[in-house]
């Protein structure tokens, strides 16, 4: 399947229009980092110690690389904050200890496996070696004292799912995949296959096919009133 890329600016163009309800606008704006925002300060973990947090940040960079993003979603910080506040999502695997303990031990396990495989801490390894460590942890084949009592694949699954949910909750990540379901004030009248409404962004390849590059962006901009 060809990769779709969508025009930038869709979310910002739509969010202030009457196509978005106030409740949705408030939710989006709470997460929408302004284009000209300064880089965020170095995060200070509240729940993890410095080594665990370095390990987590290194894992986040491999699990969800964001080198292309001027303002990367603060994934490690979000997990740290969630655990510091003791919030849960309604369930956990019976095999796993409570979330905070599971993540602390799992991150220690990542370092144990990294040492066993390459003689260094996980966060010190080069990216390709980090990927190798993550892969054996995901496959539940990792070495390390921690994994004798903590199922490595469950730790990996829980960590990955949480980071992914956080990343795809970000409005600019949703823009990247062409999602505009947040334009909710009037709903949709064109819902069938290949039926697009004016404010739904067109994939850039599709527009090139049609010889009309950037048309989606222009239409959205027109709606915004400029």
């Amino acid at each position: 399947m060809k990769a779709n890329t969508y025009p930038r600016g869709t979310v910002r163009a739509l969010v202030e229009t009457s196509l978005v309800t106030p409740a949705t606008r408030m939710a989006l704006l709470s997460r929408l980092v302004p284009d000209d925002a300064p880089p965020p300060p170095e995060p200070k973990p509240r729940f993890f110690d410095a080594e665990a947090f370095d390990t987590l940040r290194a894992a986040c960079d491999r699990l969800i690389p964001q080198a292309d993003r001027p303002h990367p979603v603060q994934l490690a910080g979000a997990l740290d904050e969630r655990l510091a506040e003791g919030k849960g999502d309604g369930w956990r695997y019976n095999q796993m200890p409570p979330d905070g303990e599971a993540h602390r031990r799992g991150l220690r396990g990542l370092n144990e496996s990294a040492h066993a495989m390459f003689g260094e801490a996980f966060y010190e390894l080069e990216a390709s070696r980090q990927d190798e460590v993550l892969l054996v942890v995901q496959r539940n084949e990792a070495q390390g004292e921690t994994w004798k009592t903590l199922p490595a694949h469950r730790f990996f699954e829980e960590l990955l799912a949480e980071l992914v949910e956080c990343f795809y909750s970000d409005p600019l990540t949703q823009e990247e995949i062409g999602y505009v379901g947040f334009a909710d004030a009037h709903g949709w009248s064109a819902v069938g296959l290949n039926e697009l409404e004016a404010h739904e962004p067109r994939a850039i390849e599709d527009m090139a096919d049609a010889g009309a590059r950037n048309i989606g962006r222009i239409r959205v901009a027109a709606k915004h009133g400029d």
Binding site: L19, I64, P65, W91, D184, W188, G192
Partner: protein, 544 residues
């Protein structure tokens, strides 16, 4: 040119929406010292219909709801993260060979319960669903027949305003037509429709409890038509979806019921004759006690048995928490050349029941097929858990989101001794034991899933899907307080009354003795109304 809506305009629009289905300004309030006729625990598909029925019959009714009473037009954002508060987020421990996710899967919190986030898919069971043991020699028969529920299905479809086809291809002839035309088919539904046709599988627009046109609801008022916002699973902001908070709850409140929110039940108090005399709950951090003559426990397939186990009630059979079931719910996904835009339209728009009793089945019971749309965070999370994709491969796959469509099954699940709910040693923030839920698919479920996966992969390949993948999944929490004729093997009698506690009724998915091969919400509501009617008849008889 469109300008940003002013706050005055928004308030006007909001008040128009709310006035359509809001409560009357004054809700009846009962004193905790007054012995009310009925306390209803839970305001979802189990609690809300009977609350309305009992109140309409003139009874004093107090419903206790753990969550808030949301104002959908004001509070509900079309944003998955912002809507996480609709789910039952108290931790459950998931054990067994196929541990079940909870949270955004299955249970709800707030007035309306899980109907706040159900897909509003409301097929009826077929009559043979209620006779699984007779037909196959496994599972359990229901102690009632389809004909006992049929009048309630008729009533519910008309009260809720179900949108459905003029002629439904499966099941017994219907006595009444669906009151509204079907909702429009979205991309996933169109793909499934054309591919199933090529395979000789009949399909039909599904029955959905969401309004395809503005609808006048008796005792409630006008409700607006569905805008195809596609967000049923995380809260309908327009009131078009028939969640309980915009249907039976306002009906109940108009009839004099009180809904007491943010009231978490912790204890059922009994006298020497084992009758419940009061229900103790925590509100604003304080314990309160509501005196009552009868209790209707409608907290769902996990919280209902948990409450009984904590209070050591209604369990002389040892069956409380037993026979936990979860529908087979395997999903098959693919990406298509067409623009699907899976965020639009009712998520489950198309159905087939041709697999209700497949000719080549090597399992008992059967399943239905449905098309599915999906929101991005939910889909990404499933890709992470189900396919284990990460790094650039994950982001690459997700760039195909707009071309993604799914189909899934909803199939029967046999009761099994190894699947049950118990109390763990771990305590929650209130000091109550967290529930542990054991679930492992049995041979029957594995065979059904295998049959369905093969079929759905073929259908999706025919539809033109690439990168087809299957996400194993079970849905709904069923069983745990079985209804039956024998006090040795069931928790409630065929009227829904606990064998051990004469003034305790249970009306929710926990009483299902078998899972049925269809989504449970409509049947939960039907049982709820039936339980209320049987209760009222019994009360009338004892007066005469």
């Amino acid at each position: 040119m469109q300008e940003r809506e002013t706050s005055d305009e928004y308030e006007l629009r909001r008040s128009m929406v709310i006035s359509l289905h809001n409560q009357p300004p004054s809700m009846q309030v009962y004193s905790t010292n007054e012995t009310v006729d009925a306390v209803v625990i839970g305001t979802g598909a189990g609690g809300a219909p009977l609350m309305a029925r009992l109140a309409a019959a003139g009874l004093s009714v107090v419903a206790l709801e753990a969550g808030k009473h949301w104002s959908p037009a004001r509070d509900f954002a079309t944003d998955e993260r912002a809507q996480a508060e609709l789910f039952w987020n108290d931790e459950r421990l998931s054990a067994g060979g196929n541990p079940l996710p909870f949270g955004n899967n299955n249970s709800g919190k707030g007035v309306g319960g899980s109907t706040l986030h159900y897909t509003a898919y409301v097929p009826r069971p077929q009559p043979d669903d209620l006779r699984l043991h007779t037909e196959f020699g496994v599972g359990a028969d229901w102690p009632l027949e389809y004909g006992d529920l049929e009048p309630y299905y008729d009533e519910l479809e008309h009260f809720l305003g179900v949108s459905g086809p003029a002629a439904y291809p499966w099941g017994p002839p219907r006595r009444t037509a669906y009151p509204l035309a079907p909702l429009p088919l979205n991309g996933a539904a169109q793909l499934m429709e054309r591919a199933c046709a090529a395979h000789g599988i009949r399909t039909s627009p599904a029955a959905n409890a969401a309004l395809s046109a503005r609808y006048f609801q008796t005792g409630v008022g006008w409700r607006a038509a569905c805008t195809n916002r596609g967000f049923c699973q995380a809260g309908c902001s327009t009131g078009a979806k028939a969640s309980m908070d915009v249907t039976f709850v306002p009906l109940a409140v108009r009839a004099g019921a009180e809904v007491r929110t943010e009231s978490f039940v912790i204890r059922l108090e009994t006298d020497r004759s084992k009758r419940i005399t009061g229900v103790v709950y925590v509100r604003d951090g304080r314990e309160e006690r509501q005196l009552c003559r009868h209790v209707f426990l409608c907290a769902g397939g996990i919280e209902t048995p948990r409450m009984l186990l904590i209070n050591n009630l209604a369990n002389s059979s040892g069956q409380v928490g037993r026979n936990f079931m979860a529908h087979t719910g395997l999903q098959v996904w693919g990406q298509f050349a067409e623009d699907v835009r899976p965020y639009k339209g009712i998520p489950g728009a198309l159905i087939s029941e041709d697999t209700h009793r497949p000719a080549d089945a090597d399992f008992a019971g059967g399943y239905l097929l449905q098309s599915i749309g999906v929101m991005p965070v939910t889909y990404a999370s499933q890709v992470a858990r189900g396919r284990g994709l990460w790094g650039e491969r994950l982001r690459e796959h997700m760039r195909g989101y707009n071309h993604t469509a799914g189909i899934n099954i909803l199939g029967d699940c046999l009761p099994s001794a190894r699947n049950y709910v118990e109390l763990s040693d771990e305590l929650d923030a209130r000091g109550l034991p967290k529930p542990r839920v054991h679930f492992t698919n049995g041979e029957n479920e594995r065979r059904m899933n295998a049959h369905a996966e093969k079929l759905m992969r073929e259908v999706w390949a025919t539809a033109g899907a690439r990168d087809i993948w299957a996400f194993p999944r079970n849905a709904h929490i069923i069983g745990t307080c079985r209804i039956g004729t024998d006090a040795e093997t069931a928790v409630v009698n065929p009227d829904g009354r606990a064998f051990d506690v004469p003034n305790l009724y249970i009306a929710d998915n926990s009483i299902f003795p078998s899972a049925l091969s269809c989504n449970p919400a409509l049947t939960i509501m039907a049982l709820s109304l039936r339980t209320a009617d049987l209760f009222l008849r019994r009360a009338q008889r004892s007066e005469n």
